[in-house]
Symmetry: C5
Subunit: 296 residues, 5 copies
């Protein structure tokens, strides 16, 4: 996630620069050809340019609304993982008397959020996860199709063998923890849904095709009136549409390990710090800080 309040012009230029340069060059060519080389057939007066603009507007409004909603839902779901992680460990403080079990649950939970992050980013979780788990558990879970799901199940198994009290109390405790574990399941499932369900392809290909056609036709429609000033109007308008398209592209895949990502590394680190401080640990890792204005 980009956190710098200033726009990073270099990054912007790297992604949209070539396109804008190409557009501008094309507009210049059209303007020169018409004005100085007298290529009169380039000017197409009756082009229904505003009409096409309206249609593109409808398209982009729809797509960008949807792309933003995906990005914000992904961020909200990671927020839910944070909340439920804190609630899980807070509940152990109230309901689980054995401090060693509390510690195990907290560390399982840290392993869980790391496994979830690596699963979404399609990275191998084991280098980070293995040190947090007892060896037997690690061995048993290697090869799981969905490691995060199996780690949640592990929480349930661990809680179930705590029977330092009478049976009813144990069952009530299990029922309470079940609620928080289900909240985690729901957030995880939501994140996997966004990761695995691309926006319908229509939303990507059609707008880009139409905007490009628009960029090609626009100077032809304007050149008769603007002559050498054609690029001024044409490039500006096309740039706005390309920028609108770009927003959609950047936001529609919020979990795909790009700079526009939800900052999952920073979030999982925050969870780790909070959970360990709840256990009373004082030596905790440092928060993740932005690198070049980007928080990962």
């Amino acid at each position: 996630m980009i956190v710098g309040l200033e726009l990073d012009w270099r990054r912007l230029l790297r992604t949209t620069g070539p396109l804008l340069v190409a557009l501008f060059a094309y507009d210049i060519v059209v303007a020169v050809a018409y004005t100085y080389l007298n290529v009169r057939w380039l000017a197409i007066d009756g082009l229904p340019v505003p009409l096409l603009g309206t249609a593109i507007g409808v398209f982009l409004a729809l797509r960008n609304n949807v792309a933003y909603a995906r990005w914000w839902e992904a961020r909200t779901l990671w927020g839910a993982v944070v909340n439920a992680s804190r609630s899980l460990v807070r509940a152990t403080l109230a309901m689980v008397p054995d401090p060693e079990v509390r510690r195990q649950i907290a560390y399982l939970q840290i392993a869980y959020v790391i496994a979830l992050r690596c699963g979404l980013r399609r990275l191998d979780p084991w280098p980070e996860v293995a040190p947090l788990l007892p060896e037997a558990t690690a061995a048993r879970l290697r090869g799981s199709a969905n490691l995060a799901t199996q780690l949640l199940a592990e929480q349930a198994r661990l809680l179930s063998v705590q029977n330092d009290e009478d049976g009813d109390s144990r069952m009530i405790r299990l029922g309470t923890f079940d609620r928080t574990l289900s909240d985690l399941s729901n957030a995880q499932g939501g994140l996997e849904r966004i990761r695995n369900t691309p926006l319908p392809r229509h939303f990507d290909h059609f707008p880009r095709f139409v905007i490009t056609a628009y960029g090609v036709l626009l100077p032809l429609g304007l050149v008769a009136g603007l002559e050498m000033l054609t690029p001024l109007g044409s490039t500006l308008i096309s740039a706005v549409f390309f920028a609108l398209d770009r927003i959609g592209v950047d936001l529609e895949t919020p979990l795909d390990n790009t700079v526009h990502d939800v900052p999952m590394t920073a979030i999982t680190r925050t969870i780790e710090i909070d959970l360990r401080q709840m256990l009373g640990e004082t030596a905790v890792p440092k928060p993740v800080t932005p690198v070049g204005g980007v928080l990962w």
Copy 2:
């Protein structure tokens, strides 16, 4: 669900190709008739073409918002089925001591998601469901109006006869499971609602009729200005509106067994793999993979 990141041009051409060809041919005919055959009455100058464009924009924006919302709600509800299925079996790990009962619950749940998928797709569930159920249960449930609903009731029956503990613990456990079973009921009911409630017919027929009228009138309004370039402007704009209409049509029925469907076969397979790995099984089926860029 189409998962290939590239647009499949052949599929696109198959669905919208004929229409575009027809449009283009018509535009050519109008342009030729006006420019070379001098059929001057074809050009209708005062046509309020932009006005009609605005009205169509309002219509399509409304319809496509609604169609996308249906598609995403269907996907989200299937996600809820995934989450609750995992939570159900995870809760058995904590709260049900008998491994055989855990296994029965997990297999009933796999049968449930298959029955739900087949019910939505209007297919016979029994070939897939029968091997997962005890024979007596299968016999009793044949003929159910809604097999999925009866399979959830079966879960409740199975849980209720587990009385290896004192009465209170049993009741607390039933209360906890009741929450997850109700989540499943709610997701299932939501999916049936989307399946059984078509979008109000207005949303389909009116836009198509108006867009077609628009496609017919547009070249008449443009031909005086564009002459032989008429198809360039006219076909492009009509194509954008037809594409917008197409998106709505593709997304409004997300559970009807088309290529734009929620990939229910893949989702139910994922559930099966996760639940079996939670039981400790290592020989699990393979995930469903896309066929020709389409995940079913």
Copy 3:
């Protein structure tokens, strides 16, 4: 609810036909008067017709979004009644040992959904409800201001007298059922809210007035350019706006017993079938089928 996938042209013509004929006749009159009778003052060139179109678009987009949201919320709330009805009876299978009490709860619930439907449609529920209730109960509840509310309270009374187990178990069971009964309360309250709160009157009267004014002015603005072709542009555009208005009118009252209604009779029948099959009954009523393409 209209379920036929084909538009029923006869129904459409019956509702919007007269209006369209009137519009078309008026447009013809204007065109003839201007073109052949030379009534030149009819043509008002400077009319800001597109501006008015934009304002109407804003109005209709707002209204139709809201109307659709009401319709879909009503449908979703009836879905919640279905889900909670199934959950209620499923919970009796797990938690209520006495089969006679299970049966009473299921039949009370069937009576509840019928009372809810009749209450919303302002029909007398007693002919359908009376046969489902014990006579004493029926006598006590006659004269209730809100029969559905009192039937839910009856469920609570019935559950409360089941004390075949120790006190704690009984209380846990009551707590679990309370959740499902509250879900039913919430859905019912939502339906009554939609039924009793008409859309603010502004949303109905202003658009219709403005569209009508628009239909009257439009041919005057177009006739100078289009002459005898005026009706072609004018009637088409007005028809689109009237169609958009019609959608809003049809959807804004989804519980008022019209053809655009939520199909409450069919939904309550589905509930009845599912609940009775959960009790093990095999002789159940048939589902409601559409009559002339309309499901009630």
Copy 4:
């Protein structure tokens, strides 16, 4: 809330009449000055009137969406108060054996909804609330900053002293009631949020200022083309924008004791009737009926 299906033209004229008359008079003056008095500089041909119209459209669409959402959320939250009030008393039928305590809870709840209504409308609740409370309670709660909050706390106190059963049952009952009381807290907090948080002032002042500027400029832009017909186009368009603005103003304060209010008196009466009939009372007050088409 206005319930009459017919628009009350007199009310409308009273609120927007003077403005429309002023606009119309101004338009007439412009038209006469230009056409007959030859004040040619009044006509400003190049005014970008449609552009301004688009900007106003964006503004009003945003504002009216938000205003409607506030109105509907307020209505929905009052619906939640209805639902939770019914659920609270229904739960006493199942879980509280002493009929006198049931009665006290129901009457406290009636006092609660009245206190909530009066608090939102900034009226003194005591004349209505005092007769419903035991004198000691009333004396203790006088002077509360937020009477409704303290009445909910009173429910908790009353429930807590019911110890006719063993400790566990009592605690389970308290846990169940806590859920419903929290639902009431949430609805109450939501209503106070809407009441105490005005829409950002931008949303009110800017649109009105711009629409007024628009109303002043519009006839100047149209008069050259329309001459004496200027008011026909100008007043109509301005009226549409003023009507759109009016909708926002009417709906944005749904709890401020105006005719566009949520009908809180009627809703609290409905609650009173339902709760008393649940206690078995037959002598209940009559529902509130509309006065002059307005339900309060």
Copy 5:
């Protein structure tokens, strides 16, 4: 939060005044140069000004929708903190017999909401929080990365050591409080999410850049038609777009300690008053009142 119903023109002028003056001066310069100094090349007739207006409209509609949603979500989440704080203390009245523990919980909760407010505003919470906590607790929690989270954990610790009853009752009570503490966790996490996740930078920089370009080009496009009246049209339209941009900027950071903020000081004071009155205290602090029309 600005609560005065009248717009504070001085504040407005301070923020947007300089910009408007600059725009107006520029427009005057263009008008004078063209009209009196005969700088004819300033007039660019063919500028597609309306097209650019449409594109900006799409942009601003999207951005302002999103900014308002952030503002309202932040307000709603603080409302949830209010509701859950009341519910927490209300539950102690029912479920915690020891009045001293009730008091401690209420004061911890007051400390919690203050810590949350200071954390969001990046202020040191200790001057306000320290007097509310036992010294040992304060010492232990100094240095917490997230003080609010640790204070919630403290609530859990405090509740867990109350064992004046048998084990089951204690566990049921812990389960009930866990629900309310999780609600607080969720609201807190949501507020931190909004605070820490800036709106994607695209949404800020692009619109401002495009609007500025628009403000520069607009008088060039209008001057040929309007001559010395150019500023009338140009400044007005630009002002509307800048105002729309301003709304977004003001609302998109609702927790950043500006005048457009959610009034967190007032809300936390309200919570303090309500909780202390629930304990029966009569000497409570006064509500926060607006200073210069702004509630903090």
